[in-house]
């Protein structure tokens, strides 16, 4: 599903990713763990195509196609989704407008028919209910005045509505209490399936108690320094990142 080869990237002239190699097959959930400043969020933004994140070398093949030259909206249409660590507030844009514009843009790009207001609502309502979101959230400005937990749930709602093939979740657990984390994890787990891959970026092991990954990769100093099974996350929880060799 996703194959990253020798990926190097710069932010503001400084190289942050020094050559990432990573493969996430369809149907699998991989975790990327690492201390602050290791390049985790940079990897998410590079994959989603944020301006200012300059790829200097390497490839990111998504379903066999290098997506690094595509516009962010083209990547979304191809089935990539980034759940933001800090979801952006859009004052004056209702959640309903936002979700509907996104869904219909993606459907159009995929050659599917656009949904009308009724079809859209029908689809969104069920998902909101399962995420424990009140329906009046659709009328509110996107993320405006939302609590940390509401913002993260809103990210999962967008993901569930857009049905991506590859979801990158950037520190979706940060700022969440245990109850909120369980709801978010349930939402993520509901989307696990043979046709979908996920990359879960996190600082702490606790999210991985709820979203159990198939593989765990440790990102330090802009490189993957170790990969292993779910037990690697527990080892890091006990010993800390200091037990690993810093990347040269």
């Amino acid at each position: 599903m996703l194959e990253i080869k020798g990926l190097k990237a710069k932010v503001e002239g400084k190289e942050i990713l020094h050559g990432i190699d990573l493969a996430v097959p369809a149907g699998e959930v991989h975790a990327i763990m690492g201390p602050n400043g290791s390049g985790k969020s940079t990897l998410g933004y590079v994959l989603a195509g944020r301006e200012g994140y300059e790829v200097t070398d390497g490839q990111a093949l998504f379903k066999g196609r290098d997506i690094l030259a595509l516009e962010p909206e083209e990547r979304a249409a191809a089935g990539l989704f980034l759940a933001f660590q800090y979801p952006v507030e859009l004052p004056g844009v209702t959640n309903a407008t936002f979700l509907k514009s996104a869904l219909n843009a993606v459907r159009k790009a995929r050659g599917e028919g656009e949904l009308d207001a009724m079809q859209f609502l029908k689809r969104v309502r069920g998902i909101m209910k399962s995420l424990g979101m009140a329906e009046d959230m659709l009328k509110r400005g996107v993320n405006v005045g939302f609590s940390g937990g509401e913002k993260k749930r809103n990210e999962i709602l967008q993901m569930a509505v857009l049905e991506p093939r590859l979801a990158v979740l950037d520190e979706t657990d940060s700022g969440l209490d245990i109850d909120a984390m369980r709801i978010v994890a349930d939402g993520v787990n509901a989307l696990r399936g043979p046709g979908r891959a996920m990359l879960v970026i996190t600082h702490y092991q606790r999210l991985l108690d709820y979203i159990v990954p198939d593989r765990v990769h440790v990102l330090m100093g802009g490189r993957i320094v170790r990969s292993g099974g779910p037990e690697l996350a527990r080892e890091l929880e006990q010993k800390g990142y200091g037990s690993l060799p810093a990347a040269a």
Partner: protein, 453 residues
């Protein structure tokens, strides 16, 4: 030698001014109401003020950011005699009906054939100015020209000297007009010569009366012309006027509008001006809060592209205690367009407990676009609350990326953010139907002009 040349440049009127004064001299015995002594005096005083003060130049402090060179460069002719033209009908047909009744002016002259004024309710009178003047102007002496200040504002002086027609709107005391009234000014914009017209709008509301007035100016053609309207709005105690204005003039038009409003105690004046058109537009509003506990808001939204220039200037004078005033302007500027906001709050010594606020926010969509913000507070009372602010920036990169990362194409993402930016300005328009109409006009502008490049 050089000294002499300079002196002569100062004393001889500039060609544009001389041409306007010559027009006045040639027309003054033939203008509507020329036989009324009070009106002759009014026009004569305005012409003299214009001759003394001249047309605005960038050296005029109130016009520092708006250069009227196109006015100086063009020579204007009289609008031709009235024959119904298809262009005006077509322009009118495109305009969504925003009111139950509609008074239409073409090139500044009232057109009964295009107006729809049947079934006005008791207590609402709508009358063409020229016919009122021809009929002896009963009740207009002491109304017309009482608020406008030709001695202060040159464009109002030009209007006063040359005004021929316009619309008089009167609402009787206690009458709350349930449906909206529209006044539409259409410029025929003939290609063969630039015309100039100076319509006058006179609105008086009796005590506790209320009205929603939609005041639209548009052009039916692409040629240059000057529309120089003046509105005088007089609100008796407890009266309430919502004055929604749409400026969608032709692409080469000069639109230089001046509004004077006087708000008595407990009265309320709310104006919202959407500026979309014209090569050069100035929307100048003077409000005097003349009685205690009065309320005014002078809001607006503006969109410009190409080389266009839009100036919003408002002067709010608190001349009585415990009044509130709000000015919120929002603009989007593209290409090499230029926006100007000048907002002034004057608080007289008597005007304790004043609450004043002004804000100008602009989004620049290109590095060559420019905005000048000049907020001013002049406060002579000691117990007041006045604040102002201005923000200028680009569309937020993080917001754009967020939308695009969800699949929304860049152009659509920009359109969504621009609509959202204007959204809270439009919230100030009290009538939902009008809000939607204004929102649709903004969306239409964006579809025509907002695209990249």
């Amino acid at each position: 030698m050089a000294r002499t040349a300079q002196t002569s440049r100062v004393t001889a009127p500039a060609p544009a001014l001389a041409a306007q004064l010559a027009r006045y001299a040639g027309l003054k015995d033939r203008l509507a109401g020329a036989g009324l002594p009070w009106l002759r005096d009014l026009r004569e005083a305005a012409a003299q003020a214009l001759a003394a003060n001249g047309l605005p130049t960038p050296r005029t402090e109130a016009w520092r950011f708006t250069n009227l060179r196109p006015l100086h460069d063009l020579s204007f002719a009289e609008p031709v005699a009235l024959v119904g033209s298809e262009a005006e009908r077509a322009a009118l047909a495109l305009l969504p009906a925003l009111g139950r009744w509609r008074a239409v002016l073409v090139d500044g002259r009232f057109r009964a054939d295009l107006s729809e004024l049947d079934g006005l309710p008791e207590g609402l009178a709508v009358q063409p100015l020229a016919s009122a003047l021809h009929a002896g102007a009963a009740g207009l002496d002491g109304l017309l020209g009482t608020l406008a200040r030709p001695d202060q504002e040159p464009m109002a002086a030009l209007n006063t000297a040359l005004m021929e027609d316009g619309v008089i709107v009167r609402v009787a005391p206690g009458v709350k007009v349930a449906e909206r009234l529209e006044v539409v000014s259409i410029a025929s914009a003939p290609a063969e010569r630039a015309i100039a017209f100076h319509p006058r709008l006179l609105v008086t509301l009796g005590a506790d009366a209320s009205l929603i007035l939609v005041d639209t100016a548009l052009g039916a053609g692409a040629a240059a012309y000057l529309n120089n309207p003046v509105a005088e709005v007089d609100l008796a105690p407890g009266a309430s006027l919502d004055h929604v204005r749409v400026q969608d003039e032709g692409p080469a038009a000069l639109h230089l509008a001046t509004v004077y409003a006087r708000v008595a105690e407990r009265a309320r004046y709310e104006s919202f001006t959407l500026s979309l058109g014209a090569r050069l537009a100035r929307n100048e509003v003077h409000v005097t809060l003349a009685g205690a506990d009065g309320d005014c808001s002078v809001h607006g939204a503006y969109l410009a592209h190409g080389q266009r220039h839009i100036d919003n200037t408002s002067i709010i004078r608190h001349a009585a205690p415990a009044c509130r005033s709000r000015q919120v302007y929002k603009g989007v500027l593209k290409d090499q367009s230029h926006g100007v906001f000048q907002g002034k709050i004057e608080v007289d010594q008597i005007a304790q407990k004043t609450d004043g606020y002004q804000m100008n926010q602009a989004i620049l969509l290109s590095p060559e676009a420019e905005v000048n913000s000049k907020p001013q507070l002049e406060i002579y009372a000691d117990d007041v609350k006045c604040s102002h602010g201005a923000t200028v920036g680009e569309l937020d990169e993080a917001q754009l990326f967020y939308l695009r990362s969800r699949g929304v194409p860049a152009e659509e993402a920009r359109a969504i953010l621009v609509q959202a930016f204007f959204g809270d300005a439009l919230e100030q328009v009290p009538d939902e139907g009008l809000r939607e109409a204004l929102s649709a006009l903004i969306a239409g502008w964006w579809e025509r002009e907002g695209g990249a490049g």
